[in-house]
């Protein structure tokens, strides 16, 4: 019966529709709050237009945080996805999948907060990193990693690479396993070395892996908060300040809800800039 099938479809779709509607209502509410004058414990929702945004754009801290996020996206996305691919290739071609998976998934499995705390200890002046450097006679390389403004951001970016590698490895492992083995065998008979097979056969065939990994990693870089909160609180100075942390501090510490909502909306807008092209490309491939 067509009628009952439609009813069944509605029953299954309703929860998702409900959640999606609530989600969009919340986003809309946020955007409204960003254009209100809510600046204290007491709710105040008088519409004031784009004044909060204008103030935000003349705040140097906003640009510092934005710059850090952009650096984060650039330095985090590329090494993580590429290293993930290389590791996945080594993993699949040597067959030692179990070991690789365990080693690389462990960091991904622990929460960012725990990872942050772990690395704060490792980055301490007498922590694991410096101790190791000294052991290899590289004392001149030791630094106060997260208290030095010139190294702090990069130290934290490294932690996120460390943590998200497993994620990239999993994505590329699936992509590599999707490659027809006879392609690899044909290349072997044609005389290709492992390196050549990697560049000329594997990389072109896992393009869809990049399509998945890169936007997801970029979005993660945009949402960074926990590690900054746990490790540096945005310091020293503004060296590790990111939009996520800036937003939290503005909204939940200074209680400037409206301004916090404005930053949140900006983050949302930037995310759209990543998600929309991705969705368009993916849809185009699907419908080809």
């Amino acid at each position: 019966m067509i009628a009952s099938s439609l009813k069944e479809k509605l029953i299954f779709l309703t929860p998702i529709l409900l959640i999606t509607v609530i989600l969009y209502i919340m986003i809309a509410t946020s955007i409204y709050v960003s254009m209100s004058d809510w600046r204290s414990y007491k709710i105040s929702l008088n519409f004031i237009g784009l004044r909060n945004y204008i103030e935000l754009f003349s705040n140097p801290r906003f640009y510092a945080a934005l710059r850090n996020n952009i650096i984060w996206i650039a330095l985090f996305m590329v090494p993580t996805s590429f290293l993930g691919l290389v590791l996945a290739y080594i993993m699949v071609s040597t067959g030692k999948e179990l070991i690789f998976r365990t080693v690389f998934l462990l960091p991904t499995a622990i929460s960012m907060t725990v990872a942050g705390t772990l690395w704060v200890w490792m980055y301490a002046s007498e922590g694991a990193v410096n101790t190791l450097l000294k052991a290899f006679n590289l004392s001149f390389l030791t630094k106060p990693w997260i208290s030095d403004p010139s190294t702090a951001l990069y130290a934290l970016i490294f932690v996120t690479i460390w943590q998200y590698l497993g994620f990239a490895v999993i994505i590329f492992e699936a992509a590599i396993k999707g490659i027809d083995p006879s392609l690899i065998e044909a290349a072997q008979i044609d005389g290709a070395s492992s390196l050549r097979i990697f560049w000329d056969i594997v990389v072109p065939q896992v393009r869809h892996g990049f399509l998945v990994a890169v936007p997801l990693l970029a979005l993660s870089a945009l949402k960074i908060f926990d590690i900054v909160y746990v490790a540096t609180r945005g310091g020293p100075g503004l060296a590790t300040d990111v939009l996520g942390y800036f937003m939290w501090e503005t909204a939940f510490w200074s209680r400037f809800m409206a301004d916090g909502a404005a930053i949140a909306t900006i983050i949302f807008a930037i995310s759209l800039g990543i998600v929309i092209p991705y969705a368009l490309i993916a849809l185009r491939r699907w419908f080809r």
Binding site: D180, S182, L183, E185, A186, A187, Q188, I189, D190, G191, A192, R196, D200, I201, P204, Q205
Partner: protein, 357 residues
């Protein structure tokens, strides 16, 4: 330069204890078009992969030309890339992100040949395979037959000593198959390259092979030219496998009336109590008027296979067999059957002899 191939007592066991090949030995002559024929799971693809170097035998060795390319006992193993072979996979394994030109040029670029030499060779081989106008297309924009020729071109462009073909026709539809078979056979004769083709289709094997080896469950059943396999099958498996429509095979006790009627008792007395009698449908005929008929029977069914007409007839009340049928025969007719040739096998299925009764 065509090379001969020696397969010396090759055995392949996959863990835990799957025997894919058992003591297979054969010698392939330089320039020969050799076919390995067998049903699924017979080990034929495994044998091809061992020759290519994609698998390693558990025991035995393979010699291509003068070189021992693998020896399980001595621990010798030459990589596929150093064996100077060309291989065409069942699904052609063309690199999907490259044009036909780049696919064919790939092995030459790896050898770091100069650009104009590469161009010359690619165009030559494309011309020979009649795919010159497809060179800048990607595999996804070609038909199955075209993709296959690109795959063959890629295999041949490095002028290998040996060409390996893994079920090259199974992905082609029936009409293209016939042209493709002729094409490959002619090409092989012109180039004179030693070729090994693996297939489960006996029509393919008979169309192209100089000699055929039949494999069953990893054991070589018979090796010989097509006529020999057809006319003197070494056992009942081969007899039933080769020939379309399949041979009529009867497992009978030696006192069965069929044996007396055909007057073959003399040939089988020393071979036990059970005998297999095989009669090819093409080697017996049903007619409404026949002088020296062996049997009288009733037609159950008339059918066409290709352009030939066959009748399924019941004889001696319990035996039904398929034979050639004359034009005028219809369902239900009473017919007289003459057997031109028959094959006898002992109780183990091994060939005793072939006679014209």
């Amino acid at each position: 330069m065509a090379a001969g191939i020696i397969i010396d007592d090759v055995t392949k066991v996959f863990p835990p204890n799957v025997v894919a090949l058992k003591n297979v030995s054969l010698k392939i002559k330089p320039g020969e078009f050799f076919v390995v024929l067998g049903p699924s799971g017979s080990g034929k693809t495994t044998l091809l992969r061992i020759i290519a170097g994609l698998e390693v035998p558990t025991k035995g060795r393979v010699i291509i030309g003068d070189e021992v390319v693998v020896d399980a006992n001595e621990g010798i193993y030459v990589e596929p890339r150093d064996r100077n072979i060309g291989m065409v996979f069942q699904n052609w394994a063309l690199y999907p992100h490259m044009t036909a030109y780049d696919n064919i040029a790939f092995p030459l670029r790896i050898k770091k040949l100069p650009k104009d030499e590469i161009d010359k060779r690619v165009r030559e081989v494309a011309e020979a395979l009649e795919i010159s106008d497809l060179l800048y297309r990607k595999p996804a924009h070609m038909s199955g037959g075209q993709q296959q020729r690109v795959a063959v071109a890629r295999a041949l462009v490095k002028q290998p000593n040996v060409l390996l073909l893994d079920e090259p026709f199974s992905n082609l539809d029936a009409r293209i198959r016939i042209t493709a078979r002729e094409f490959v056979r002619e090409l092989q004769k012109n180039l004179g390259i030693t070729t090994i083709l693996v297939t489960h289709d006996q029509a393919d094997a008979f169309a192209v092979g100089d000699r055929i080896m039949i494999l069953k469950s990893g054991i070589a059943q018979q090796i010989g030219p097509p006529e020999e396999l057809y006319g003197k099958p070494a056992n009942v498996f081969i007899a039933g496998f080769i020939g379309d429509p399949p041979m009529n095979l009867f497992k009978l006790k030696i006192d069965h009336p069929l044996i007396d009627t055909l007057n073959v008792k003399g040939y089988i007395t020393k071979h036990g109590n059970i005998v297999y009698v095989g009669i090819r449908p093409d080697e017996a005929i049903a007619s409404t008027s026949l002088e020296n008929a062996h049997f009288i029977g009733k037609v159950i069914l008339v059918e066409y296979v290709g352009s030939r007409r066959y009748a399924k007839v019941n004889i001696l009340n319990e035996i039904s067999m398929r034979v050639l049928a004359e034009e005028n025969i219809r369902d239900g007719d009473e017919v007289r059957i003459y057997v031109k040739k028959l094959h006898l096998f002992n109780s183990n299925g091994k060939r005793i002899c072939t006679i014209n009764p």
